[in-house]
């Protein structure tokens, strides 16, 4: 707990303005973008190792998730008709600008890969698009960590050392879940292994982040963020166990394990989003760490 006595404020008003982003759009995008990106990487692996069932489901779902991502991003804009202004400049200081260019390349590749697979047409182009999406996918899944941590929102910024790893593992866990839900059992060997590795990493990195980010970590243990966080971790663990033990033998168990991992990944992203908003609404999260930093500067021995 942050001691109350340390805090002075202006009538309890927040210091920073909270994000105007809508949870369904932006937390939804964090999940869908991660699912699509990691899904494309899995599709690449499935294609190379001759697992057409797994390749088809990951290509198709990644294309759908990428399309929904774009729709959510445009929907969240205050001026939707001006979405193309996103490609007006390229700025490495703005993860949103970098991400716009990434998505502008990745989403079409994703769509071509899926269409070629479903129709059986233009297979050479389809293979090239699958490779492009597989290479760009991990970037799409991870850049969003820089997007949200590159703000003054305490529960996001203070976790910047861990957030990219939380996002990478959450995305991989979701993609593994996708494979477990949709691919024939004969194809799911790699995604069962991925489910265990990524699911474990998701729980560990998220817990480390909350613990080591300082006072802002408290925002992850309160209210809605806390509920979604706990439910997400429980579902990840359940999904991992069933993926490892049962999913190789039963179609139903595989689908249930996959659904648990997908839901868990979405809950992780919503918990992060909600913790960020809560930390922006309370001046404590802004003032207390800054006060401590100043105190440490003026007294280096402490």
């Amino acid at each position: 707990m942050v001691p109350q006595a340390e805090l002075q404020s202006y009538y309890g008003k927040p210091i920073i303005n909270k994000p105007t982003w809508k949870a369904a759009d932006i937390a939804g995008y964090l999940f869908l973008g991660g699912l699509a990106g990691a899904g494309s990487a899995v599709a690449g692996g499935a294609q190379i190792t001759g697992r057409p069932g797994l390749a088809r489901v990951t290509k198709t779902a990644s294309a759908a998730a990428a399309g929904l991502s774009l729709a959510a991003l445009v929907h969240d804009l205050g001026r939707r008709g001006r979405f193309l202004n996103m490609l007006r400049t390229f700025k490495v200081t703005s993860p949103m600008s970098v991400g716009s260019w990434l998505l502008a390349t990745y989403a079409p590749a994703c769509a071509v890969a899926a269409l070629s697979d479903l129709t059986g047409m233009a297979t050479a182009l389809g293979t090239g698009a699958t490779a492009t999406a597989a290479v760009l996918g991990p970037g799409v899944a991870c850049y969003t960590a820089a997007l949200i941590t590159n703000t003054a929102v305490p529960a996001w910024h203070d976790g910047y050392r861990y957030m990219p790893f939380v996002f990478a593992s959450s995305a991989a866990s979701a993609a593994a879940g996708l494979g477990l839900v949709g691919a024939p059992l004969t194809d799911t060997g790699p995604v069962r292994r991925l489910a265990i590795l990524a699911g474990g990493a998701e729980v560990v990195t998220a817990s480390l982040m909350e613990k080591r980010m300082g006072p802002s970590g408290e925002a992850y243990r309160l209210g809605k963020a806390d509920r979604h966080n706990r439910m997400g971790k429980a579902l990840t663990l359940a999904g991992m166990v069933s993926a490892g033990v049962l999913a190789g033998r039963s179609r139903v168990a595989s689908a249930l394990a996959g659904a648990a991992l997908l839901t868990a990944s979405a809950l992780t992203r919503f918990a992060i989003f909600e913790a960020g908003v809560a930390s922006a609404e309370d001046p404590r999260y802004t003032v207390v760490p800054q006060r401590r930093r100043l105190a440490a500067q003026s007294d280096p021995s402490s």
Partner: protein, 292 residues
């Protein structure tokens, strides 16, 4: 598409030069001396009138005489009112008293966009709508902003915000239009006590230093400058203040840092995480080998 200068804005102390203006007028800004603010809100009114900022609710907040509450899309100058059971220097406090009968002091302060040397809003803007003017100020181009909202949580001061029903981001322009014809900003023009002073930043800093030592000499030891230091987390503010208490008492962050200072470390970690993700996926397929 224009590739914006990605030279980190953390370079240099002269933002107009860092933004690529080879030959430019001196940087201008505000020095807001809150020790002479009388809370008349003429700055708030003048700003709204000149900039045609829409009405955003006529409410009573219960926060002393402050019914504006804070800076946002529709409030570009905000006067804070703080009531404290304390004396200001050697003042003889007036009739106003707190509940327990002790005398109180009133702190009043007109807040505004800081026009940071290293401006997070400008750094994160993906459209190039936010730009650095030749005068070193930070301005939103309303014909370009698409309302993505990234600048809103990026600002460490809670200044810029999205306008309801309009969708775009708005904030103080330091009256860019008035400056272009040699006039001073509306708030400074309207201020009856010269609490809000406009001018070349170098000159304002010297003036603020003199005022601070004068106040200290007169026994107001709690006076301090806020945002004056070019070595602070935002490289110093283009609009800085003389305060009579801790910044957070006025709703200001005590040690703001431009978020993009940590962006190189963020990108490095994103790269490592993306490679780790690609590597893990490769590994889980390599172990299984081609399907029989």
């Amino acid at each position: 598409m224009a590739v914006e200068r990605s030279r980190s804005l953390l370079e240099g102390t002269d933002p107009a030069t860092s933004a690529g203006y080879a030959d430019h007028p001196p940087r201008v800004g505000f020095f807001t001396d809150t020790s002479v603010c009388i809370g008349c809100k003429a700055c708030e009114v003048a700003c709204k009138e000149w900039n045609q900022v829409p009405e955003d609710g006529l409410v009573l907040t219960g926060m002393s005489y402050d019914n504006t509450a804070g800076l946002g899309a529709d409030t570009w100058r905000h006067v804070a009112f703080i009531e404290q059971p304390a004396r200001l220097g050697h003042q003889v406090t007036g009739a106003a008293s707190s509940k327990d009968g002790s005398r109180i002091r009133w702190l009043m302060s007109s807040d505004v966009c800081k026009h940071c040397t290293h401006a997070a809003c400008l750094d994160v803007c993906p459209t190039g709508s936010l730009f650095r003017t030749e005068l070193g100020t930070v301005v939103v181009q309303e014909d370009i902003c698409n309302g993505c909202g990234y600048c809103v949580p990026a600002c460490p001061y809670g200044v810029i915000d999205q306008r309801q029903g309009d969708g775009r981001a708005w904030k103080c322009t330091l009256c860019y239009d008035r400056l272009s014809v040699g006039a001073e900003p509306a708030c400074a023009k309207a201020c009856p006590t010269e609490s809000i002073q406009f001018g070349p930043l170098e000159e304002l800093r010297e003036r603020a230093d003199r005022r601070l030592s004068q106040l200290h000499h007169n026994g107001t030891s709690e006076a301090r400058l806020y945002g004056r230091d070019p070595d602070d987390g935002v490289g110093g503010d283009g609009a800085f203040f003389l305060l009579l208490d801790q910044p957070e008492v006025y709703g200001l962050p005590p040690d703001p840092v431009v978020t993009t200072r940590d962006l190189p470390a963020m990108w490095a970690r994103v790269a490592v995480a993306a490679v780790a993700l690609a590597g893990t996926v490769t590994a889980v397929f390599a172990r299984g080998g081609p399907r029989r």
